[in-house]
Amino acid sequence: MRGRSTSDRMLWALGTVVVVVYALVPVAWLVSLSLKPAEEITDGKFFPRDVTFDNYTGASGVFEDDQFRAAMINSIGIALIATLLAVTLATFAAYAIVRLDFPGKTIVLSGALAIAMFPPVSIIGPLFNMWRSFKLFDTWPGLIIPYMTFTLPLAIWTLSAFFREIPWDLDKAARVDGATPFQAFRRVIAPLAAPGIFTSAILVFIFAWNDFLFATALTSTDRARTVPAAIAFFTGSSQFDFPTGQIAAASVIVTIPIIVMVLIFQRRIVAGLTSGAVKG
């Protein structure tokens, strides 16, 4: 890079610090709120004086709360299944779009784009009514289906962008060298395609893990209610105190997986989010 003066370096270092603080302060605030004992919750301080895990493991802590435990299981199950389905269907479609010549593939791509911009609130009414008659209301499939649908466009676009970069000719070369079609696929193509598939899986998972609108509109009990809805409707054990500490603790727990994913896969996530965005 070009020569930089010390003051220039200091400026960029400062910028970096500002960005990191910007991103992490609200998270740190939730962590410290969740570690405060009940009497400190309202003291208006950022950090707790005495650290306690009561909000997690105490008698009224979130780990002891049946609602929250059920919501965790629902969230993990629903998000994983929706991810698996969306990525599988999107892989077929993206492969066809990149590798095969057929009329209508641009319609698939632009239709998917239109759906990406679709306001979910426009279909919660019909889905609510349909799900009640199909017995899908307040069930896992009742949420998996909309999540899969609304993430398909993202998955198809991301995967198409990744698949375009794969040197598919290697497959032929491997077969000339004596590999069976299956071997060529497993040893050559699959490893090349895996990172893109994995990246779109992360993005799809984040969407499903995050959703609140469908989760509140299409569920009513612990049977299928996911974490965002459970947190929003969390009343706590006492009717009189708003359960600030427990909500903070629950929030921290569901944020941990996201932070772990972000730390491990940051490069992939960025590539996935910006894929295709610059190929003018």
């Binding site: 066809a96 641009t106 609510f128 009514n129 609140f212 609108l213 965002p228 569901v254 989010l273």
Partner: protein, 309 residues
């Protein structure tokens, strides 16, 4: 969107395949796309059609026997009601304010990421945290921070503001939440745009005597215009459907009710499927108008931007 095959794919089939092969390729292509397309049509196109159908009826789940076809009465009721226009205005205030702030902050953020020599990893990882974190959780974090009893913001600012009981301050918190959560996404899209700007061109303009501001407004921004427009379009359409943070922070009180909250309340809380569907369809129309304005008015070219070359 162009229909040309990407160059790599074209390279693999140098000779035009015989029609038999072309036909089987076509069939396979449709077969592979069919499951995804079917799902997308069944879960979006069909319900929106169903919503239109419901919106033409008087249909309240609390009085299911009173169901009747009423034509456009529901639309007249919604559009004739002050609440619709109020909520449309509220949504636009939140959208415009947050998108503008995000654009400026996102640009700065992208610039830091583009030029940072060290700490690029930590910067990238930390800005992905707001992107990945659950919106409901974000909304609670900011609500607790501003809440006069639990929060630290009043102590920090030395004020006694009760943020959620006044309209302007409730908006400030909602917009701040929205901005914090989605600026990283904006920044990443803009960062991709920065790579559209050739370094040599910026250097050349510096040699020609352009100052930092001139380089930014005369060279960098015009070259990034496509990326900026796409980022704006994506974020605007996303902000128009704002639901989670308003729901958690005010439930629409203090004049902060958004269109999505209105739709949710009418459909799910009051169980009025007819009227609620009219709201849903109108929200859909609003989104279509915004997308149309961006594409026709500003010439945002999504196809060119998002992958298909």
């Amino acid at each position: 969107m162009t229909t040309t095959i990407p160059p790599q794919a074209a390279g693999q089939a140098p000779t035009r395949p015989r029609s038999g092969r072309a036909q089987s390729e076509r069939k396979l292509g449709w077969m592979l796309c069919a499951p995804a397309v079917t799902v997308m049509l069944l879960v979006t196109a069909y319900p929106i059609g169903y919503a239109v159908w419901l919106s033409l009826q008087r249909y309240d789940l609390r009085f299911p026997d009173d169901r009747a076809f009423v034509g456009l009465d529901n639309y007249a009721a919604v559009v004739g009601n002050r609440l619709w226009w109020q909520d449309l205005t509220n949504t636009m205030i939140i959208t415009v304010a947050s998108v503008i702030v995000e654009l400026i902050l996102g640009f700065a953020l992208a610039f830091v990421m583009h030029r940072a020599i060290f700490g690029r990893g930590p910067v990238r990882a930390s800005i992905l945290v707001p992107y990945g974190i659950i919106t409901v959780v974000t909304a609670f974090a900011w609500r607790f921070a501003f809440d006069p009893t639990t929060g630290f913001i009043n102590g920090l600012l030395g004020t006694e503001q009760s943020w959620f009981t006044e309209s302007w301050s409730a908006y400030v918190v909602i917009i701040a939440t929205e901005v914090w959560k989605t600026t990283p996404f904006m920044a990443l899209l803009l960062l991709a745009g920065f790579t559209l700007v050739p370094d040599d061109l910026v250097k050349a303009s510096r040699v020609d005597g352009a100052g930092t501001w001139q380089r930014l407004t005369k060279v960098i921004i015009p070259l990034m215009k496509p990326a900026i427009l796409v980022a704006l379009l994506f974020r605007t359409l996303d902000a128009v459907r704002i639901f989670d943070s308003v729901f958690v922070q005010t439930r629409g009180a203090q004049g902060t009710e958004s269109l999505s909250i209105l739709g949710y309340n009418t459909l799910i809380t009051r169980l009025n499927l007819g009227l609620g569907s009219a709201v849903s369809v109108l929200v859909f129309v609003v989104v279509l108008i915004i997308a149309f304005l961006f594409v026709k008015g500003f010439g945002a070219n999504l196809a060119q931007q998002r992958g298909e070359r």
